[in-house]
């Protein structure tokens, strides 16, 4: 399905994400990596010290869409696949891979790239490459 190229909205939204990542470090001293924050809340061995701020961050993330709808009336478009088995597989791969690889698009792609971390640059190039490969297979081969 086609989506329109939105350079301005994406740049502005990206700047807000960057500001959030900066605020996270400035206020509580932590990297704003969503996979890290959420996985540390879960068993086995949930991390107790970061739990209150982790829960507060996730709560804010969950409230963003309902508050946006309430404040502006704009309902974000979410064109998600209707194939639930594909979504289950995709979700497990995203969860497993991001914990194994110590980060996702936010932790490596935004925070790590901003620290010019070699690990994060390598991880970002790797997940971009396999993402491109899987979408190519899905849309142009299978």
């Amino acid at each position: 399905m086609e989506t329109s190229f939105t350079p301005i909205a994406s740049l502005v939204g990206g700047a807000l994400i960057g500001l959030a990542a900066l605020l996270m470090m400035a206020s509580v001293g932590r990297i704003a990596g969503v996979s890290g924050i959420v996985s540390r809340l879960l068993p086995p061995r949930p991390e107790m010290s970061g739990m209150p701020t982790g829960i507060a961050f996730v709560l804010g993330l969950l409230l963003a869409a309902p508050l946006t709808v309430l404040a502006t009336g704009y309902v974000p478009e979410v064109n998600v696949s209707s194939n639930l088995s594909v979504l289950v597989l995709a979700g497990v791969l995203v969860g497993f891979g991001s914990v194994l690889g110590s980060g996702c698009t936010s932790g490596h792609g935004v925070c790590g790239m901003s620290r010019l971390s070699v690990r994060s640059i390598a991880a970002t190039l790797t997940f971009m490459a396999t993402g491109v490969g899987v979408v190519y297979l899905m849309r142009h081969v299978l």
């Binding site: 086609e2 989506t3 939105t6 994406s10 939204g13 990206g14 700047a15 807000l16 994400i17 960057g18 470090m25 400035a26 206020s27 509580v28 001293g29 990297i31 996979s35 959420v38 996985s39 068993p43 086995p44 061995r45 209150p52 701020t53 507060a56 709560l59 993330l61 969950l62 963003a64 869409a65 508050l67 979410v78 998600v80 696949s81 639930l84 979504l87 289950v88 597989l89 995709a90 497990v92 995203v94 969860g95 497993f96 891979g97 991001s98 914990v99 996702c104 698009t105 936010s106 792609g109 901003s114 620290r115 971390s117 690990r119 390598a122 997940f127 396999t130 490969g133 979408v135 142009h140």
Partner: protein, 137 residues
């Protein structure tokens, strides 16, 4: 745990989520179109990362000169520096799931409250993946 830290984390999550919504990244079709270079390519995601890094990179340099965060005892900067199989293998698996579903952890959590069945299924599967990876460690 002080209340200011909790309020800051809540606001940070909210700002992060609003940024994801404004940028269009809560729509998996937009993410998959970014990855579909030879098809219906939508380069928007590159602008999201560019916009974010343009703020975070100079901001982190500024924070690096400070003693510590406002509401905690110390900055917790990551310290690992080795390129190992776990990092690259994990990133490869993550990218495959990202392409397959069009969601990564931030955007799916920022849109799950809108109630689409697919996003809820993805979040449950993703949390299972988090737990499985921690068990495997």
């Amino acid at each position: 745990m002080n209340i200011k830290a909790l309020a800051a984390a809540l606001l940070t999550g909210l700002l992060f989520g609003v940024g994801l919504i404004v940028s269009g990244m809560t729509n998996p079709a937009k993410v998959q179109n970014f990855l579909d270079i030879s098809g219906s390519w939508d380069p928007s995601l590159a602008f999201v990362m560019g916009g974010a890094i343009a703020v975070t990179l100079p901001g982190y340099i500024w924070l690096g000169r400070r003693q510590g965060p406002w509401f905690a005892s110390a900055f917790q900067w990551p310290t690992a520096s080795d390129l190992d199989v776990r990092l690259l293998g994990g990133a490869a698996v993550f990218g495959a799931g990202w392409g397959l579903g069009g969601f990564c952890p931030g955007p799916v959590l920022a849109s799950v409250s809108l109630g689409a069945v697919g996003t809820m299924v993805f979040v449950a599967a993703m949390c299972t993946g988090f737990v499985l990876a921690k068990l495997a460690r």
